[in-house]
Point group: C2
Chain length 399, copies 2
């Protein structure tokens, strides 16, 4: 290959800002969940109504639970599917694993990790917070020290509000080294099926996710995967929940039965989606999702933004727009162009905007999203070299 | 904007040729018909089964006929919808407008235009061919001279087999100048809703298309739009057809009734799709489709191909791969990557490959397709500067 360069800036002129073509744009869901869903997966939802007690329904639950464990590749981990959001699955893990008055440490550095501390306090646990400002990384040793005599550690792997991928391996390993009996409940809502995740090696007892993230299924299912020791430590008949009693759920689901009515259509869809994810080694899946998100980050930098987190989650590109442009304005501009992204979360709505290729979206789509960012930031009056976003995305996506 | 350049080649390295990520690719339909269909349009197909004789079905046929005329912006033209392919609509126009033994001139320079000459001979018309080699343009004066004493001229606007956009305006105007009574039946199968088309000004009597092209609907409907004088010259009870008797069809459809059972679900879908196309001025639609196809052509050139036609149709990028790589190999490589394109048509299967953004596909998708071409041609061993295809597409799509 030659080493010559290609001139971009003198060939790409500013677009027509009136953008009369906008109604012809393809509508895209580029938010960090819900995400784009494969048509084949959506079609599963529309089958003649299935019944969860029919033999096929029972078999499907057993199948999808096995697929969920297979995606984790952690021997002995058992999946529980909650009809609810990821928060419901997290609550199920908390109230079913942590006895009253136990000491809980919540490591937090963003909207979602803060939610888990709030939840622990709500249930009256003796809760200690280990916090970092939004956008920063948790310090593994600091978390481990705080959890040295705790019963349970609540920690978030991929913090969707800031785009940080916390070093869950280092955190969990440091904490367990000091406190082998510690239960680690990990919010892997946007890392499961997206980022490197090895709960067996790392010592994660409960892995929590939701159907509308890396598993690229519509929302409605909370996913919980429990280590062998966590399964043994589940509290029978927890007083802090009935619907979210994971001891009862696990027992029923081991034989294909849910105590309550599950969203069976979503379970069929989840199974179809997992089929695609399981068709490649998980390292390929992780590398591909990282490549796509790197392309989004590179495109953002190309149009004058900067990544908020120093260690970026592959699930979401959280970008600080250049001075004078707020996150809400970016999201509104994208929406006006038919592209559904998100601003930051309160109180950082304007600090950042958030885009994602977590779902049924590939490396080539990332190039299209780079083009969308170019047109959006040009429309917003940003000062950058036209073409730089697409070229930077091409380096990351195709390199 | 600065004039500095961005280095591409020294930053983008060759991809992993084993391409283990391929099962994670989003499947795309990038063939020149059928094309990608908007989910909202597909959902129309799946409504509770509608009936074409119910008041809503009758109203829908009247509505979609009006939409078809509106897209053409040619006052007095009336639409006939045939349940069949574009070929069926063309046959309907031919046998309903041309009496036995009339002299027909077929101007041809590719697979599809050759079909119309073959069809005319099949019906026993006194048929004269005015041919150019595939990939070349028809000469308007040559066609006009041949049609000087003909009854009907058959001519193709966008030749989907070669990617040529013939100068239909010049051809029809020159022919009508010499022979004002000439009937011009134009194959606009891939130009209707895609390329500049002004049948009133140009003197086109019958505009033929199909649902699965620019109107971005599933296949199954042939579309025929007839000028006021063509409507008057329709032959009542043509002996050369029964199902395709356009005199009877037009009469029925003017009041919302089809003599035979129509594909009513497709008619609902077509109406929904036309809504999107009619949401912008047609000049914007034409410019956008040209911009997208220019991006495909530029990407192809960037990876070492050349466009076959000197005057490119905005409906399809027909590209000659570099020496040693055949059109079938390109299409096979794209298929292996989950991307459905087409090779050339016999006897030119290996001369070219064909890709298209004619359907529910936008300028940003064209950037993704450029990335796909980069990976495909790298896998095929082509020698080009990595990144050049995407950068060239960005110039065309965003410039």
């Amino acid at each position: 290959m030659s080493n010559s360069s290609i001139q971009v800036a003198d060939r790409v002129s500013a677009p027509d800002l009136a953008a009369p073509h906008v109604p012809l744009n393809r509508r895209r869901l580029i938010a960090p969940g819900p995400v784009e869903v494969e048509p084949r997966v959506l079609a599963e939802l529309a089958q003649p109504q299935m019944h969860h007690r029919a033999p096929e329904g029972v078999a499907k639950l057993i199948q999808v639970r096995a697929q969920l464990s297979e995606l984790l590749e952690a021997p002995g981990y058992e999946a529980v599917i909650v009809t609810g959001s990821g928060t419901a699955a997290f609550e199920g893990a908390l109230v079913s694993l942590v006895p009253g008055n136990a000491r809980v440490v919540s490591a937090q550095a963003g909207k979602f990790s803060e939610r888990w501390g709030e939840m622990a306090r709500h249930f009256g646990y003796d809760t200690q917070l280990v916090s970092k400002p939004w956008g920063e990384l948790l310090d593994p040793q600091e978390v481990a020290d705080a959890a040295a005599d705790a019963h349970t550690l609540l920690v978030t792997h991929s913090e969707t509000s800031t785009g940080a991928l916390h070093d869950l391996a280092a955190i969990a390993q440091a904490a367990k080294a000091q406190n082998p009996d510690l239960i680690v409940i990990a919010d892997c809502i946007t890392s499961y099926g997206v980022a490197e995740l090895r709960p067996g090696e790392w010592g994660i007892d409960a892995v929590v996710s939701g159907s509308q993230k890396g598993t690229a299924t519509p929302p409605g299912l909370g996913l919980l995967l429990l280590s062998p020791s966590a399964q043994e430590r589940l509290i029978p008949g927890t007083p802090r929940g009935f619907y979210l009693d994971m001891h009862r759920e696990l027992k029923g689901q081991m034989s294909g039965n849910t105590p309550q009515t599950p969203a069976i259509n979503l379970i069929y869809a989840l199974s179809a989606s997992l089929e695609r994810l399981l068709s490649v080694p998980r390292e390929v899946l992780w590398a591909e999702k990282k490549r796509q998100n790197d392309a989004l980050l590179a495109a953002g930098v190309g149009v004058g933004c900067r990544a908020w987190a120093s260690r970026a989650s592959p699930a979401v590109a959280v970008l600080c727009p250049p001075a004078g442009i707020g996150g809400r304005a970016v999201a509104a501009q994208l929406a006006q162009m038919g592209q559904r992204a998100l601003p930051g979360q309160a109180p950082h709505e304007d600090t950042v905007f958030r885009i994602s290729t977590m779902g049924y979206t590939d490396r080539y789509d990332a190039l299209g999203i780079a083009g969308i960012l170019e047109d959006a930031f040009t429309a917003l009056g940003a000062d950058f070299e036209r073409g730089a976003g697409v070229v930077a995305a091409a380096w990351a996506a195709l390199g």
